[in-house]
């Protein structure tokens, strides 16, 4: 017990405490730091660029979490009502994006979204030339375009999770519902959805905190641009820590993100455990 705890303390707690400490200093990472109190936190919540990163995260949560969970529930409901041949293959295909490294995913989508990429070629092929654009270089579309990558990646994960969850719901419940004359819709809301509460909580926790921490996808595709249209807190943190020597600011961003993730995880677990 003592050894794992010591290990945990060295690997997690000490760096966490250090970050917490750094967050109160203006520090370039090399020379002596100056105490700035809550200055870095105040900057985070007053600097318009850093503030905007929180707005971007909300949009990403919609694409990384809400949309995949809704799609996952819908497709699970459709698939599990009837036994289909080749289910395993379907599941494999949908789960595949989860297996790919996010950098690979990002590079592939960078090609797809490019001015001469597959998406624009498809639009041109069907005569929608007016809709073609540089998806990742467009101030309006860059963030939703990034979001769609996230939807693509997490949708399969949600679906596989829900299909596994459904197999735990006693078939008697479905039979009872059918005896009572419930249609597919009633059955879904009365049996499937309550039965999947634990899985939905897991999916929400992982995808929302995932959205909050989005780094690699943005770093590889847009680097936070155009302008600061796709900047996320994690990218801002990386820039502050490694590109511009502002370690204190980076630490403050990290602490805020950690607290947000913690709050979200706690809120969801509380919500899902309530009867």
């Amino acid at each position: 017990m003592a050894l794992p705890l010591a290990f945990y303390a060295i690997v997690v707690l000490v760096p966490l405490a250090q970050s917490f400490q750094y967050s109160f200093y203006a520090w370039d990472g090399v020379s002596a730091a100056t105490w700035v109190g809550l200055g870095n936190y105040i900057t985070f919540f007053t600097d318009p660029v850093l503030q905007s990163t929180l707005g971007h995260v909300l949009v990403l949560i919609l694409f990384f979490s809400v949309l995949p969970i809704l799609l996952g529930l819908l497709s699970t409901a459709l698939i599990t009502r009837r036994k289909l041949a080749g289910m395993a293959v379907f599941r494999f295909i949908y789960f595949l994006p989860q297996v790919l490294t996010s950098v690979v995913v990002a590079l592939v989508f960078k090609r797809i979204y490019g001015p001469e990429g597959a998406l624009n070629s498809m639009l041109r092929a069907v005569g929608l030339d007016a809709l073609t654009r540089s998806w990742l270089g467009d101030f309006t579309w860059a963030l939703p375009a990034l979001g769609m990558i996230g939807t693509w990646v997490t949708f399969g994960f949600c679906m596989v999770l829900f299909i596994a969850g459904i197999s735990n719901i006693p078939t008697e419940l479905y039979e009872a519902a059918r005896v009572d004359g419930a249609g597919p819709l009633r059955e879904f809301f009365a049996v499937t959805l309550p039965g999947l509460r634990a899985q939905i909580a897991v999916a929400l926790t992982l995808t929302i905190t995932g959205a909050l921490r989005t780094f690699d996808l943005v770093w590889v595709t847009t680097g936070g641009g155009p302008g600061t249209a796709t900047l996320t807190p994690a990218v801002a943190l990386y820039r502050a820590a490694f590109v511009n020597p502002q370690v204190g600011k980076a630490a403050a961003i990290g602490i805020v993100m950690a607290l947000l993730c913690l709050a979200i995880a706690m809120a969801i677990s509380k919500f899902s455990e309530r009867d």
Partner: protein, 455 residues
């Protein structure tokens, strides 16, 4: 509920640990090495490398391609000259090295010599943190003060209170080669359209208009991740070298407008509105833009010399122009040694390390640059090989700047965040979300925030 209790316990432990750290009174950064220069500056410099005994120097640099070949050959030559010295080179990716150099230099086992990025982002921070040596005594001993042109030397200087860049002590050295911002053109395509290579900005614009009318792309470009070369190239045509130098080196009497930035931004916007850039450049990244240009898409390109990575077979297919100032007198151009060479404070044989830096500034090093297709610096009568047809035009550009004493530093050395600001503002400019005046305002604001210490 169990989960949240664990969480609470974790938080409590973290807070306790923090309290302990705070109680111990250790502010971050306190572990930086004590200032070494004061003690070692009193010792005389030993310039006799052969007498130094067996020495191993570790070197970290970010040079690949022909630059990598160049440094390999220089190390080879130095070791042949001094068999008692062994240089162990580690090559890293640019981003990787610049983001970790402070940690590497703080390590007991870190590199003795390294390439740092100029300006506050890297070199300034390292100098301020006492991680790299003050090179003043070597400058006198090796005669660098007479060798390095003052405009290049400034790029490596900081005052010892570390409030000012561009004057004071030397903390790094250039190498005997230079990288410029200028315009490349596709020789075959320009000939085909019957256009002679422009020699003034007016001629350049006339040529661009003609190319556009002929249905070709006048200026190959990608602004998704690295849009600034065109802006900085134009800025040097509008402002005096002094104005750009002084702005970058923190002289608040000069504004970004006086440093030519408004006119440069206006011109860039005009060119964009005229459709002279590659269509959809906002979605094209730097690497793709370079690849497209080498593929023949687009006739002109604003670029850093050496960045096109021309093969021997491609030499001469693209040529280089350093346009004179818009006013017609003299040539100003962004030009810097491609890296600042530093010696770690922890280096055990700083005299030998300094001798190697001296070797990298020698005439031999300049000649080797030309042999590898890189623009030599600091020495005249260098022979540029016949087959390096592109390099001949690039070297002519460097000569033109040198004659006007017109070297200016990269504008983004002004503050650690200036490159981000420039990138973002240019993208906003292209999207019509700001105007040239707004861009200039943001640049001034960035610098002033940095100078007053609020950033």
């Amino acid at each position: 509920m169990k989960q949240s209790r664990t969480v609470r316990r974790t938080l409590a432990a973290a807070l306790t640990a923090t309290a302990l750290l705070a109680a111990a009174g250790c502010a971050p950064g306190g572990t930086a090495p004590a200032p070494a220069p004061s003690s070692s500056s009193s010792q005389a410099v030993v310039t006799d490398v052969a007498a130094a005994g067996n020495v191993t120097l570790k070197m970290s640099d970010f040079w690949g391609g022909s630059e990598g070949e160049w440094i390999k050959s220089m190390i080879q030559k130095f070791q042949t000259k001094y068999p008692n010295v062994k240089i162990e080179r580690t090559q890293e990716d640019w981003g990787q090295l610049t983001s970790t150099l402070n940690l590497q230099l703080a390590e007991q086992d870190g590199p003795d010599i390294a390439t740092a990025n100029n300006g506050w982002q890297s070199l300034g921070t390292l100098a301020k943190g006492n991680l790299v040596l003050n090179l003043d005594k070597y400058s006198t001993a090796f005669g660098w003060d007479k060798l390095i042109p003052s405009t290049i030397a400034r790029q490596n200087q900081f005052t010892t209170d570390f409030k000012t860049i561009g004057s004071g002590s030397l903390f790094s050295t250039p190498v005997a080669r230079v990288s410029l911002i200028g315009i490349y053109y596709n020789v075959e395509k320009l000939n085909k359209l019957g256009i002679t290579p422009p020699t003034t900005l007016t001629e350049f614009e006339a040529a661009a208009a003609k190319i556009k009318d002929a249905g070709e792309i006048p200026i190959a470009y990608g602004s998704q991740d690295s849009p600034t070369a065109v802006l900085l190239g134009l800025q040097a045509m509008y402002a005096s070298a002094d104005a750009i130098n002084n702005f970058t080196y923190g002289d608040t009497a000069v504004t970004a407008d006086q440093a030519g930035l408004t006119k440069a931004a206006e011109t860039v916007k005009k060119w964009n509105d005229s459709g002279w850039f590659t269509p959809h450049h906002e979605g094209i990244n730097y690497q793709d833009a370079v690849a497209n240009y080498l593929d023949g898409k687009g006739i002109f390109r604003f670029e850093y010399t050496g960045s096109l990575g021309l093969t021997d077979a491609q030499q001469g297919k693209f040529k280089y122009i350093q346009l004179p100032q818009a006013s017609g007198s003299g040539t100003v151009g962004v030009g810097a040694a491609p890296s600042a060479m530093v010696i770690a404070s922890k280096c055990k044989n700083p005299d030998v390390a300094a001798a190697f830096l001296d070797f990298l500034m020698s005439k031999d090093a300049a000649q080797a640059s030309a042999d590898f297709g890189l623009i030599p610096l600091m020495h005249s009568d260098i022979t540029v090989p016949e087959k390096m047809a592109t390099l001949q035009t690039e070297a002519a550009g460097a000569d033109a700047i040198a004659k006007s004493d017109g070297f200016v530093p990269y504008f983004d050395w002004t503050s650690p965040t200036m490159l981000d600001t420039l990138n973002q503002q240019m993208q906003l400019l292209y999207a019509g979300k700001t105007d040239p005046a707004g861009l200039v305002k943001a640049v001034d604001a960035d610098r002033n925030a940095f100078l007053t210490g609020s950033k």
